[in-house]
Point group: C2
Chain length 464, copies 2
Amino acid sequence: MTVPDPAPAAVAAWGPREVPTTALLTDHYELTMLQAALQAGTADRPCVFELFARRLPPGRRYGVVAGVGRALRALEHFRFDTESLEFLRGASVVDDRTADWLADFRFDGSIWGYPEGEIYFPGSPIVVVESSFAAGVVLETVLLSIYNHDAAIASAASRMTAMAGDRPCIEMGSRRTQELAAVAAARAAYVAGFEATSNLEAGRRYGVPTRGTSAHSFTLLHADERAAFAAQIAALGEDTTLLVDTYDVEAAVRTGVELTGGRLGAVRLDSGDLALMATQVRALLDSLGATGTRIIVTSDLDEFTIAALSGAPVDGYGVGTALVTGSGAPTSGFVYKLVARAESDEPGAPMTPVAKKSADKISVGGRKYAVRRLSRAGVAEAELVGIGAVSRHDSDDRELLVPLVTDGEIVGRESLETARDRHRRARAELPLEALKMSRGEPVVETVYAGAGAVQGNPYAPAGR
Amino acid sequence: MTVPDPAPAAVAAWGPREVPTTALLTDHYELTMLQAALQAGTADRPCVFELFARRLPPGRRYGVVAGVGRALRALEHFRFDTESLEFLRGASVVDDRTADWLADFRFDGSIWGYPEGEIYFPGSPIVVVESSFAAGVVLETVLLSIYNHDAAIASAASRMTAMAGDRPCIEMGSRRTQELAAVAAARAAYVAGFEATSNLEAGRRYGVPTRGTSAHSFTLLHADERAAFAAQIAALGEDTTLLVDTYDVEAAVRTGVELTGGRLGAVRLDSGDLALMATQVRALLDSLGATGTRIIVTSDLDEFTIAALSGAPVDGYGVGTALVTGSGAPTSGFVYKLVARAESDEPGAPMTPVAKKSADKISVGGRKYAVRRLSRAGVAEAELVGIGAVSRHDSDDRELLVPLVTDGEIVGRESLETARDRHRRARAELPLEALKMSRGEPVVETVYAGAGAVQGNPYAPAGR
């Protein structure tokens, strides 16, 4: 085939971006606050914002940081372009002065954060933004959206890949979530150990390996199952995966083995009692000499059913709905709070910790550091969170905040493979009970320390 | 300020689109099926695909169709451009012949569907695609993603606006869902009766009214609450909404009333026992003469808490997490199935209903029609679904399938206001028990009729 030359302008505008600008992925109130602060003369006051979770989703023992790379990409494209500004002016969201400020806006502060794939716990300061009030406040929604979604997916995915052990998990939930959330979900699942995705855009955009062969519609299109299987094998080769539950599983398996002389790559089971069927199909395949044919199961799997299938002769899991909906926790509950501000606009004015006073929505003021405290054997023992500079700690401990943006320059880019490796190592450090699927408490406690810190753990459940 | 002229090419590329092309928002297996069908000579066989839900989310009494306009937009931009094809070839997803076919692909079939805002029930044929196998199969994922997400949000939103009655609901959940899902969620909520959104991109892209004033960070930025409130009032006027629970609610309300001479627009409560606090704040406002100051409540609201606040002096609800996560049902469970195909490739060959045989995943074969059966009083009595042409029905009944795409041409575009009006009218037709918040069965039954139709309702719960 002949591929025409791409129009350079079009490629430049489209190619590397999720959306032309991310600047309107923002709540209205961030711009009204900006406008009021500009008018009051407080917009430039140095501030520290923090993104953190007060608690994990109910029963979860750890969370997984994801979305860091996407957040940096969003920051890079956070520009109020002509069209955005026309909208904001036309809809009277902002006045002229604020629009002028937005037109020139480039984030010039610094951001630290937990790197992608890292584990987190309640109170972990996952992102720390040091900037003017104005520069920090406008990032609130886009940062929260990305982290809340991607971490929810990665946290669920990590439990699934832990239960699957050496058996590969394939992400196939695109159809059960918004079409662009699907792309992000495939990426987050890959960070948390999934081997591949069905989503082609995740392949193109992020390089996640893609997989897929056939649906029931392909079998139903043809006069009979044999014709459909023959067509699939002719097009995709004997190593393909045949979907064998459209009519009668046993007949389908026999047909597939016959058509490939026993060299069929895999069969997929998408309904029924998967453990029972996998056992029967394995026996049948072996009796037919197709001992190398793998069995892939799909159909409403989650971490619990994956665990329950650990004794069945299954070679891989396709996971859809439960993955993209966070397996009961579709959002992570991260919040983004002002935790410190300069006492005045005088240059060099000291920073003051600030926090809302509320019984049910606790925040801890102050610029944090964070360390994963590890035993000599390399097992995680505590999440140490302190105010101020990092205090002395054991050489086995790991500092958790890394520079992501320094004076406006993005410095935290890394490959997805790096994040994926990090997650595997960080999860392996957790105490064994982290991988219990029963409901539990966070597997290590968050401990507050340092000058001016609160005593104990303000996010601990009552009575703990 | 001076707005420079937009570069026309950039506007053409960016402006009206969610993404440059929607063609890769597709599962890998759709293209491998296409490739196998092209090779087998079955790709052009006339087919009917149907998008439907086997059941509503647990306990729900009705569902709301949403995403129609977004699906048509996605279809319009479903083009395999140069970059997409390079990726697909490079990753060996497709061969040369299939890539050539994709390069020329324009959907040339016809699509009928329930219009946006309409109510649906189990088995409602929400989308019916009549096309070649090839043209229909490649749309599977993008259609499911859009409908599954948007209908989940609209279905939750409709229950919330029903419980809120005349009090406005404002969507403010962007931060708790993926950043572009947030834009779609704001749109779906508007269809289902929300008055406004916090999401600025939903304002720009879809014209949904946007709202927002201030967060706790703005108060914490300033030396004291009085300074923060004064700054906000100076910038946004006395009609603004002050967030009064950063420190002490009573003191904050007094300050706000004092600073505006009693003309304060509204106060927002974002924590605590909202019913109790609203009552206390109403009494305080009235005692201070601020009888026109409204009370807006936010903080983890859902349809149940909105219902519980119906007796409290509340003037509006801001809803976040529960809305964008579908209030316990983040996806709608729609599936997309081949329900009929031509018996052969001969021109004019008759269509044969097809369906997978499975105990747990039922499909009903055949091209459907659908009618909402209404009593003389205009109350919905049944969802009548039949195979073949629409059978005679009462003049009060409403046909539910409207043309969306005719021979490749999009004919179903309409304004969001039209969809919003339709939803209000369709919900008003439902029997009163539709708006009970307790768990229940679908409020009207889906009845199958017509030549060759199944008897009874195959999607009814066992034992019904």
